[in-house]
């Protein structure tokens, strides 16, 4: 099983390995700065568990687990 951003618990960090998928969603993630080598951190989950608040490149962004699964992380 590949480790993805969706697997991280709040306050955990990871390094991006790659973004899977060739569609517009993956493209938008890359454009926002989810690029290989970047550190991502889960700040918290919304009260109902989804979406997650992510910190990357110094800004905060909310995304659902569904999208976070496209972001593969380096193995620890």
């Amino acid at each position: 099983m590949k480790r993805t951003l969706a697997d991280l618990a709040p306050l955990q960090e990871g390094r991006i390995q790659m973004i899977t998928g060739l569609d517009g969603i993956s493209q938008r993630l890359s454009e926002l700065g989810f690029t290989p080598g970047q550190t991502v951190r889960v700040v918290r989950l919304a009260p109902l568990g989804d979406p997650m608040q992510i910190r990357i490149r110094g800004f905060n962004i909310a995304l659902r687990h569904n999208e976070a699964r496209r972001i593969l992380l380096d193995q620890v």
Partner: protein, 741 residues
Amino acid sequence: MAATASSASIPFDEHSPSLRHSLDRRYVVAVIGNPNTGKTTLFNALTGLTQHTGNYPGVTVESALGELTVEGDRFLAVDLPGTYSLAARAPDEMIAVSVLLGYGKDIIAPDVVLYVLDATNLERNLYLLTQIIEAGRPVVVALTMIDLAHKQGIVIDTEALERRLGVPVVPVQATRRLGLPTLQQALRKAVHLESCPRPLIQFPEVFSREIDTLILSLPRTNSAPALPRFLVDRLLIDASGSVEQELVRQFGEEVSREARIARERLASAGIEVPQVESDIRYRWIAETAEATVRRPLTASHTWTDRIDSIVTHKVWGLLVFLVAMAITFQSIFSWAAPVMDAIDGFFKTLGMHVGNFLPDGPLRSLIVDGLIGGVGAVIVFVPQIAILFGLIAVLEDSGYMARAAFLMDRVMAGFGLSGRSFIPLLSSFACAVPGIMSTRSIDNYRDRIATILIAPLMSCSARLPVYVLLISAFIPHRTIGGVVGLQGLTLFAMYMIGLIVAPPIALVLKRTMLRGESVPFLLELPPFKMPAWRVILFRMYDRSWAFLRRAGTIILATTVLVWALSYYPNQTRIAEEFHARRATATAAEQEHLAIEEAGTRLKESYLGQAGRAIEPLVRPLGWDWKIGMATLASFPAREVIIAALGTIYNLGNDQNEESVELRETMRAEHWPDGRPVYTPVVALSIMVFFALCCQCGATLATIKRETGSWKYSALTFTYMTSLAYIGALLVYQVGSRLTGA
């Protein structure tokens, strides 16, 4: 590529004569940047009171426009929608691309692009800038949020950045007007020099060759110039993006095929599209940041983090959210009420005074009941719209709105929408008109349409009087188990109906006519800040004015139409009959005669005739023709039913929901066989009908205005009316059998 300084020869949008006139000697500056960069604040500071919303030539969606003059050079500024990339997927992004390239019928390319660069978020903000520079227009960069960056210990070497970008970079603080004169000079210089920056990044050799091939192989008419290179880049990179769709529309499927083949050739050469673009741009950005930005080793714990730990907290966050929503909801209800009453009172008094000056007859009736009443019915919405948009602007500008969407997203995802739909739906409990207008913050078109279509199902404040009248008159004043009042429970149930019916409808819409590629929920949570008052006041003014101008005229027209239907045919027989009766009546009877005459006229009018004609249709709902007619009359505005009932029952039209007289009369109504017309079940059937029906001309006009087509107004009207009829039918048929009434 020279800027088109003499733009006068380009054909203009026919409905903007003022633009055509004034653009003759004006430069166009397009303001663009990521969302939440202080773009609007800067735009306001530059254009001041000249700001207005309108159509940029050739663009059908309204944008903010404004003017500025620098040493005799006049500029028209257009505030383009905030976007992260020119890889256009959303309509907003496509507008930005079309304007930047001057691509599309009648669209004028800007003479200079003003790029708003957020200093606290330099890397992500530079991404779009590298794309913009490739569009081949003069660019000036305004560096915003420097004070915030300083607080976080971020230091930017502006001169080094300027050298690296090859375009002027001007630090500004719009709220304190710092740096604005320098920025204006830079804009002026840019349009005079017409110097276009060189692309910052280089795609791999193979990629560039592929673009050359693609340009040559694309179908085109002989006369048309070759496509701008930047557009072909986008075609190749953004598979099934807006550019590809637009080109397919113009030249056919062949475009798609050529692009796909090119992508496959690139893939076999080891270049993956679309990743190649973000890889290259972010590599350049990393080098740039390395050379120009110093930041502390450990990120400081900012105010935003502290506020966030409360407002997105599992317990406190929900509590803050509930309080914020309660205040929003309550303010539209109660803060607006006194102003609305005052407006209502003013138009009633005005009507009365004007009426006294005019002779009895159609002219008086048209002016007093039709025109003055109609204008009043439009203006009465303005306080709610202004207050709601003021509050929404505060929530948005402070950064809280994104948190509210974050909190509610999971709930809304359950029926195919996202967190962004929450506020518009909540606002619709006060009034669907501002609710629908506030869907503009929903970036996805299909989500936005679905939200607009279900918004009128939320029980708005105009339904409340109908509920109050019927509940207080016909629902027994009893309690269940000694705790829950039956009347209160009924009112609660009426508010719940819309909430229960709306989600499945949204789901059905999203699975059928609004089906499409699923859109990611990517929502930036920007830093918190104090809202800028100018932004808020402008929004209140702008939204209210937009409503008055567009929806207002249509509402007025329908109001006058209903007046005409209830006034004509103006039968002289009735007039003569009452004239004769008045001659013999005592002074005390005179007033009652006038009211009775109005009632008789209404019964004989086209509306009355229609009421009788539809009686077979409303009998299964448990209604008589009078209820049917009052309901017909209230299609342009549902609250009209109370005045209509007052007129039908010969009580005069100044009845309100608290009126004891009206309640007593309704209780005394009987069918010819002696059964009472109004039973609790009939009252419920009427209420359910009103809860589900779209009896609101203002809403339908607003839907047309916001979606640009009557199609969605017609759809809303049809589905809601059907739903209302079925709902009322079920309530009466099941209810009357259960109660044996």
